[in-house]
Symmetry: C2
Subunit: 108 residues, 2 copies
Amino acid sequence: MTETFKKELVQRITRNLLDIQILRLTQTKPMWGYKIKKQVEALFNVKLRHGTLYPLLNSLEQKGFLTSEKQQKKGRTRKVYTITRKGQQYVEAYNSILKEQIQKHDIR
Amino acid sequence: MTETFKKELVQRITRNLLDIQILRLTQTKPMWGYKIKKQVEALFNVKLRHGTLYPLLNSLEQKGFLTSEKQQKKGRTRKVYTITRKGQQYVEAYNSILKEQIQKHDIR
DNA sequence: TACAATATGTCCTCCATCGGACATATCTCA
DNA sequence: TGAGATATGTCCGATGGAGGACATATTGTA
């Protein structure tokens, strides 16, 4: 039961807070859209449409959370995204909320 | 900056995962709709329409996460909601996801 | 006595988001 | 050589959810 709930919840959180999950992934190392798509699908068990992802990546760059750089990999062009200081701060804010939520739960 | 991000994120999380935040509140003690509304607004800084809340509470009861009992308080009727075992499990699943997300963050 | 607060409920419309389609190009392997 | 994987991009229509309106009743207070 709890396992079913967890799967369902991970999918909900991933969909609703997709930008944050993407920022968290790029925190590990710079990544391009296609790789992010595969990672999200593997880690969170969520089918991610590229029609959703690519516009989101562009908007994250516009907002200053990511910067991009085009790389050539055997003729194919990759747009590699790196997290910015601002992006880091956004993830840190998220993490501190998580910690607070857990603490409130434990105290009660 | 981080504080602005936190406010924004708490509001997003509250809106997107409102059902979970409600279950967490009823974990503390049984509550009725109006009280929940006031608590959510005070704790999370989110304006919550009762036209959103009451149907949500009914659906949480239908799904078996909450049970309700009508109480009279000086002529006014209150529909007091208590969390069920299933509701508890849902919150536990949520908490374990939070813990995992924080751990992944710390390891990196 | 009239207004604000307490308390719960439904319904409709609008807007934003998401999925799916359309579009293009290269590389690898059977 | 053809299919599947890699790689990125736009656009449109449907659907769902949220906000605001409609609805009602009691209590407390200025």
